[in-house]
């Protein structure tokens, strides 16, 4: 009997002139977990979207159970038993878990409620999933939502599961739980493909690893016979030093003091509740928390984009609350928020680097005309310093790869000589080399005495880079800890609010 669940050979996919996948070969056996490892932009997600029927490949063949197939739509994928769990959940918030799970399944839509609940129950039981089928999605935590997504594809009878960066939104504890579920699936003979760029997770969960680099599958190795250094080398194409500096600085002066700050989000809910902390000169203060715990609102409140409902934001004893964004920029407070689509609000996609450099400084100068000469020099300088690859300084930044776009943004913020640098998700989606370039750039600023608020996702990185880490949970601070004295587990518990070190801020 054929033991290969799914096999891809010679897959090629292009978007316009961009080659996302080229000559990709991989196969997964039944009862096996395959990790798909690659830097951002190496074509992992594209490949998985091909399997899920969202994109059609330009070339290449896909075999399921040894038979060549064409997956023209997500429906075809369902029929073939392929289930995808996306990075961003696709659930209907106002419906219950059960309603979401049965949505789109093809059995008789009437009079089967009981049977369905029973089936959902059976599946959860056999895979060790804990879920209340009647709970509404909007009442669920991120990890519960993910469980619903998994149940959804299992309910449709998926035998091949694809998980796109499933741990990106989970705390360490939740990740452990997820891995237990994946192992259960493996026992039941499912084929699991997990996409990730976190090496320790790859080593922990997978049986084999297929490495993608620049859209091509480089090689497949057995997890038991490899290690983190080798995997990085395969992924990047050269050996990389995997440690981050944390230089000591001598400054001891508060630059930013946040006093009992409460901020409402656009829906009028309190996104930050009574938050107090201080940020010192020459310090990197990390902000950890599950996505949507108030990070965005904190950034926007400091930058003057969101009104504070209560409290004060003191910058060198001067209250920023009530000042316009332009006034705050002129005080040397720089904010760069890197949203999921990367371009979001820091850069203008259709403009070239030069014009993007001008975004915050264009109004300087006395004539009614925009002065581009300095911006031109600045662009050249940043390209060299941060190793940005671009066809030219006037090429629209939308044509640059994600990593380069981020470097443009960060480069501009740094070159504006801020005294406070707020950076959210600075390395989101960056490859390893670029990430280290960014860490170095931040450390350089730190040594110059800039106060840095580093809002991050990867706890391993934050533990190495930051001086202190502040943890947000549902808009409240559950703890401010010294990065040198804490553990990932402790941060995980703070993130979910399981423990609360109820900090009375020193500010």
């Amino acid at each position: 009997m054929n033991n290969t669940a799914i096999e891809l050979s010679g897959i090629r996919k292009t978007f316009g002139t961009v080659i996302a996948n080229n000559n990709v070969n991989l196969s997964v056996n039944k009862g096996e977990i395959l990790a798909l490892l690659g830097e951002n932009g190496s074509g992992k997600t594209t490949l998985m979207n091909i399997l899920a029927g969202i994109y059609l490949p330009d070339e290449g063949t896909i075999k399921v159970d040894g038979k060549e197939v064409h997956i023209n739509s997500p429906e075809d994928a369902n029929k073939l038993g392929i289930g995808m769990i996306h990075q961003h959940f696709k659930l209907i918030e106002v419906h219950s878990a059960a309603d979401n799970i049965i949505l789109g399944s093809k059995d008789n839509p009437f009079f089967l409620t009981k049977k369905r609940s029973q089936k959902i129950h059976e599946i959860s039981e056999s895979f060790g999933l804990e879920i209340d089928p009647d709970k509404k999605i909007y009442n669920m935590s991120v990890s519960e939502k993910q469980t619903v997504e998994i149940l959804k594809v299992l309910y449709k009878g998926a035998k091949i599961l694809i998980l796109d960066e499933p741990t990106a939104v989970l705390t360490p504890q939740e990740t452990k739980k997820l891995f237990a579920i994946l192992r259960k699936m493996k026992e039941k003979g499912c084929a699991v493909i997990i996409i990730t760029h976190k090496l320790n997770e790859v080593l922990e969960i997978s049986d084999r690893v297929t490495i993608l680099r620049k859209g091509e599958s480089i090689t497949t190795v057995n997890t038991a016979e490899t290690n983190a250094n080798e995997l990085t080398e395969l992924m990047v194409g050269k050996a990389v030093e995997l440690s981050i500096d944390r230089p000591e600085t001598e400054y001891n002066e508060n630059v930013l003091e946040i006093h009992r700050l409460t901020v409402q989000n656009e829906e009028g809910m309190d996104a930050l509740k009574d938050v107090s902390f201080s940020l010192k000169k020459g310090e990197i203060l990390g902000v950890a928390g599950i996505a949507g715990s108030g990070q965005k609102e904190l950034c926007e409140a400091i930058a003057g984009l969101l009104k504070a409902k209560e409290g004060a934001i003191l910058h060198h004893k001067q209250n920023l609350v009530g000042k316009t964004p332009a006034e705050i920029i002129n005080l040397g407070v720089s904010m760069s928020f890197i949203p999921e689509d990367r371009l979001g609000m820091g850069l203008v996609a259709s403009m070239g680097m030069v014009e993007n450099m001008l975004l915050k400084t264009y109004s300087q100068g006395k004539t009614p005309f925009v002065e581009k000469k300095e911006a031109r020099e600045l662009s050249e300088k940043i390209i060299e310093k941060l190793e940005i690859s671009t066809p030219g300084i006037d090429t629209p930044v939308r044509r640059l790869s994600g990593g380069n776009v981020q470097k443009v943004l960060l480069g501009r913020e740094i070159e504006n000589n801020p005294n406070v640098l707020i950076t959210a998700y600075a390395v989101r989606g960056l490859d390893i080399n670029s990430s280290y370039t960014v860490y170095d750039a931040l450390n350089e600023q730190k040594q110059k005495g800039v106060a840095i608020l580093f809002i991050g996702e990867d706890l391993d990185v934050m533990l190495e880079l930051c001086d202190r880490i502040m943890v947000l949970c549902h808009g409240e601070i559950t703890g401010i800890v010294n990065a040198g004295e804490t553990t990932k587990e402790e941060l995980g518990l703070l993130m979910t609010g399981a423990i609360n070190k109820g900090v009375s801020a020193n500010a």
């Binding site: 059609l56 064409h70 609000m345």
Partner: protein, 359 residues
């Protein structure tokens, strides 16, 4: 070789360079001419003769050229006005109304202050036209900023309100007392008419000056930079410390003001009076011009000329061959449809089953 199970054709996004896009426009025009030719052939007329008569009708004599330019003037000016708003992704389809209100404001001075020195009167009328159009455009901009109303619907509705204002003035307060009861506004005194330069009213000079001015304004000034950023993303603009509302209001005022100038040029240069035909659809045609020119003022000139030649030439062709007026409308429609349709290929391309990409 066809593989089973794959769809026959699918549409993928296309990111082509500006040069390729320009080339595509040329293809589009050629294709449009061929399609139009087939239509003419169906009427039993030799398409070569028909096209020759269009060109001749629009360009052969000095009078023909002057008539063509006269059509082009309001079209170009309002296309430039629309370009300002569209650059900000503010979908101002109210140029028609802004032309009308500009015309009304200018007419007021032509009717009631025509004793001013000629130069002063014209200047006052120009300014009045701009203020009229600008204020009319400011209304939807204000509501957009204050209540986030939909500017497309709002500007469109205002067109009809403006049109009925003219009817009100024609029937009521401004009715010509010497027209023996016929509802119309009196012809302007010579003093209130735009001077002719090379046989066409001076509106063409205003239009060409505006082309250069708007080009520089959008490309090199701080305000132009602000317009581009706001157009791309209001969040980015706010993040950069820009006052988005102020920029939206200012830009819409300017957009309307330029369209108002077109209205002034029409009443003072072409019609010498105000009637409900003062805009006559120019405000809508101008949208096509601005869009086809991809919001580039210089390309606007080219596109305007092409459309004006088509319009003037078609009317001549239709009388030469004794066709109904509908024929020239259909022909213009076919040609525009083809050109606009080609825009699709600038953004997407079909991929056929065998993997070969179609042009």
């Amino acid at each position: 070789m066809l593989k089973s199970g794959e769809p026959f054709v699918r549409i993928v996004k296309n990111d082509i360079s500006d040069r390729k896009a320009a080339l595509l426009s040329v293809y589009a025009v050629i294709f449009a001419i061929i399609m139009g030719g087939i239509f003419i052939l169906c009427l039993g007329i030799n398409p070569f003769n028909a096209y020759a008569s269009i060109l001749k009708g629009a360009l052969a004599t000095k009078m023909a050229i002057q008539a063509t330019v006269k059509i082009a003037i309001p079209l170009l000016i309002s296309a430039l006005g629309i370009t300002l708003a569209f650059k900000m992704k503010f979908w101002n389809i109210g140029a028609e109304g802004q032309i009308i209100v500009g015309g009304i404001f200018a007419t007021y001075f032509a009717l009631f202050h025509h004793n001013l020195p000629h130069f002063v009167l014209i200047l006052v009328m120009l300014i009045a036209g701009m203020i009229g159009g600008g204020l009319w455009a400011l209304i939807p901009a204000y509501f957009k900023c204050k209540f986030d109303t939909n500017e497309t619907l709002f500007t469109l509705m205002l067109n009809y309100i403006a049109l009925y204002f003219i009817k009100f003035f024609v029937e009521g307060p401004w009715r010509d007392p010497e027209s023996s009861g016929f509802p119309k506004i009196a012809m302007f005194e010579q003093n209130a008419r735009l001077d002719k330069v090379f046989g066409v009213h001076a509106g063409w000079i205003i239009a060409l000056v505006l082309v250069v001015f708007i080009f520089i304004y959008l490309k090199y000034t701080k305000q132009g930079y602000e317009i581009s950023v706001v157009g791309e993303s209001q969040n980015t603009a706010r993040y950069a410390g820009m006052n988005v509302k102020k920029i939206v209001l200012r830009t819409m005022f300017l957009s309307g003001a330029v369209c108002g100038l077109a209205g002034m040029a029409q009443v003072s240069g072409a019609a010498f009076t105000l009637s409900d035909g003062v805009a006559g659809g120019v405000g809508f045609d101008a949208i096509i011009v601005a869009w086809l020119a991809r919001l580039n003022p210089f390309v606007c000139v080219v596109v305007t000329l092409l459309l004006s030649i088509l319009e003037k030439g078609c009317s001549v062709m239709q009388s030469t061959f004794g066709l109904s007026t509908a024929v020239s409308d259909i022909l213009q429609g076919i040609i525009l449809f083809c050109i606009l349709g080609f825009d699709f290929f600038a953004q997407y391309k079909p991929v056929f089953r065998n993997g070969g990409a179609a042009k």
